[in-house]
């Protein structure tokens, strides 16, 4: 196998269609694998919980990027779709007694259906107008779960306590192993989601999504059924988001409407913008970055508290302001996101010592 890209000469389409060609790329993949395996051995429970949050965010961000970054259909309904996944899975598993894996699978289907329904305005609207329409879907879902008519969802409590995850005779354990066991489950699902999403965009289906994004009239003129392509994108994207929602519910063991507000939708949009629109790797970087950022800010502020007491007393405000500042700086420095930054670094080393 060639070490660098200049030595790669594909002899078959099969070899060219592989995602990786050089040894460097395989080494990087192996390193990522090692990192995933090592994490539970070196992090404490606190950081493990953050790692788990990141893994769920990765699934959700990948889903959102399929719709927004790849198909060009902006969506502010992410929070609502997460809620559909969460509530559906919990009600099916805890209340109806279905096995949890089945409940999660059905929650994915349910969210895909709901997402497709709320994607209908996308057939007529584009850009900001579609953003407003999806904002409406967010508000409708949020309103319904908050009001909880007839106490159908939470039985009047306002929230649902979720049973500890168990399936096929396996039961997630107590405090000492809880985060680590969840980590294994979430890491497997996140990797599968990333691979599945990556695969979509190696095939004709994914290309038709990107065609709709780049040039919808030309897409129709080569035979892409716009209605079908857009609704499929909404369905596939919402499926991933539904999975993230269901996992949030079972992992955090409590479901309440506060976890699925418009703020969440915006946070996810920020993830894919900071990470890189129209890139699966970008969604992953963005999810990691946006989940870690508040944690880092909090830790830095706590460390500095003795020197600058204002930081501690005004933590939420400081956190929000820094958060916003970092995003703005980011968009100014590299509007195409973390993924583009990473590609530029790779290019730099590839051509080193030449500038181009």
């Amino acid at each position: 196998m060639a070490m660098t890209a200049t030595g790669v000469h594909h002899r078959s389409y099969t070899s060219e269609l592989r995602l990786r060609a050089t040894r460097a790329e395989y080494v990087r993949l192996a390193l990522m694998g090692v990192l995933l395996v090592v994490v539970p051995f070196v992090l404490d429970n606190y950081w493990m919980s953050i790692a788990n949050t990141i893994l769920i965010a990765i699934i959700g961000a990948v889903g959102l990027n399929i719709l927004v970054g790849y198909t060009g259909q902006i969506s502010l309904g992410q929070g609502g779709f997460l809620a559909v996944g969460a509530y559906t899975s919990v009600i099916l598993s805890d209340r109806m007694g279905l096995p949890t894996p089945l409940a999660i699978a059905l929650a994915v289907v349910m969210t895909a259906v709901v997402g497709t329904f709320f994607g209908l305005p996308g057939l007529r609207l584009k850009g900001l107008y579609l953003a407003i329409a999806t904002l409406a879907s967010q508000q409708i879902i949020e309103f319904l779960i908050r009001r909880d008519y007839g106490d159908f969802l939470t039985g009047g409590l306002g929230y649902i306590n979720v049973e500890r995850l168990g399936f096929l005779g396996f039961q997630v354990g107590g405090r000492d192993v809880f985060e680590r066991q969840w980590y294994v489950i979430l890491a497997v699902l996140a990797v599968l989601s990333v691979v599945a999403a990556r695969n979509i965009f190696r095939t004709g289906l994914g290309r038709s999504f990107m065609a709709v994004r780049d040039q919808d009239i030309a897409a129709e003129a080569i035979g892409v059924n716009l209605t079908r392509a857009k609704l499929t994108a909404f369905a596939v994207s919402s499926g991933f988001v539904g999975l993230a929602g269901a996992l949030t519910a079972h992992y955090s063991e409590v479901v309440s409407w506060e976890k699925f507000t418009l703020e969440v939708s915006i946070l996810y949009l920020a993830m894919i913008i900071v990470g890189g629109l129209g890139s699966i790797a970008g969604a992953v970087y963005g999810a990691i970055f946006m989940t870690l950022l508040p944690v880092v800010i909090r830790n830095v502020a706590n460390a500095l508290e003795s020197v600058v007491p204002f930081l501690g007393s005004q933590l939420p405000a400081v956190q929000n302001a820094t958060f916003g500042l970092v995003i703005i700086l980011f968009l100014i420095i590299e509007p195409r996101g973390l993924n583009r930054l990473w590609e530029r670094i790779k290019e730099y080393f590839r051509f080193w010592p030449f500038r181009y």
């Binding site: 389409y13 695969n199 038709s208 780049d214 009239i217 080569i222 035979g223 892409v224």
Partner: protein
């Protein structure tokens, strides 16, 4: 001249040479008060290069948009004939006809009517290869689960269709641009990619809207060569809008002339050239002046983009 033997036929029509392929029957198209087309009728014959000419704003692009289902004329019909011969798989196909004026444009495309646009409409963030593979869209199956799995039917299909796409890349000499994003390519190359994407459909009818506009003499010659290759070797029927009269007279079998949305002449290049109405409306008017205006308009268009 082509010497390579290609495995795939690019001609998607199952119509024998010389029979009517496309009938434009008395169509009229209005935009509010603007009459873009008025009672236009003509027939495109299988195996012909059929040129449509006319001054700026005559309604040529509108006519093409009507054929490909992007515009729907208020009156009249456009019929596409299929069958009567063998398709590219060598199967006999029954005669049939389709009313294009009642179909959305993606369904027209699925009948094998492929096109290029006057102001290049490529998928600019995608590579040349991806753009051409999108030309195979109608021939592929798009199952969500198979796509997510990749290994199995999805990969097999990608490789299968890649063979035809590579033949088109070879035919149009796009080898060195294969993995380049089309948005970054030179204008002349983009025009070629657009032709390539249409060819990947294996068109029953190829509609080209000013494929040589904005090119220098050499690029024009190349493009004319590609169109002739496609036509002569693959037998694809072509409807061509073109301003350069030399090119039109050189490569077309038949010419229809539009002026102010009306068909003022229809015949062989020689007949049309001698037609007094055409000389009056098109050639007779101060051509040089027109060309200057045309060039100005084009420069304006290019800077607008």
């Amino acid at each position: 001249m082509l010497t390579r033997a290609y495995q795939h036929s690019l001609n998607g029509s199952s119509r024998p040479e010389g029979l009517p392929l496309l009938e434009v029957d008395d169509i009229s198209l209005r935009f509010g008060g603007v009459k873009a087309l008025t009672n236009v009728s003509f027939t495109v014959t299988q195996g012909h290069v059929h040129a449509i000419i006319g001054p700026n704003g005559a309604g040529k692009s509108s006519l093409l948009n009507c054929i490909s289902g992007i515009y729907h004329p208020q009156e009249g019909q456009i019929r596409l004939h299929t069958g009567g011969g063998q398709d590219f798989r060598g199967k006999d196909v029954q005669e049939g006809q389709h009313l294009l004026t009642q179909l959305p444009s993606y369904k027209v495309a699925r009948l094998g009517v492929a096109r290029s646009f006057q102001n290049i409409e490529l998928f600019s963030h995608l590579s040349v290869l991806e753009n051409l593979m999108l030309g195979r869209h109608i021939h592929m199956r798009h199952s969500v689960l198979a796509s997510m799995l990749w290994f199995g039917p999805a990969r097999k299909q990608e490789i299968e269709h890649r063979h035809l796409v590579e033949e088109v890349i070879d035919l149009l000499q796009l080898q060195s641009y294969r993995h380049k994003p089309v948005g970054a390519l030179a204008y002349g190359i983009q025009k070629r990619v657009e032709l390539g994407r249409a060819l990947c459909i294996q068109p029953a009818l190829l509609l080209l809207d000013e494929p040589m506009a904005g090119m220098n003499a050499e690029e024009k010659e190349d493009m004319a060569r590609y169109i002739l290759d496609v036509h002569e070797l693959a037998g694809v029927s072509v409807v061509l809008i073109e301003h350069d009269m030399n090119v039109v007279m050189d490569i077309s079998d038949r010419v229809s002339v539009l002026d102010f949305g009306k068909l003022i002449a229809d015949g062989t290049p020689d007949e049309v050239k001698a037609d007094p109405a055409v000389i009056e409306a098109y050639l007779g008017s101060d051509t040089e002046d027109d060309e200057v205006k045309d060039a100005e308009r084009r420069m304006q268009e290019r800077t607008d983009v």
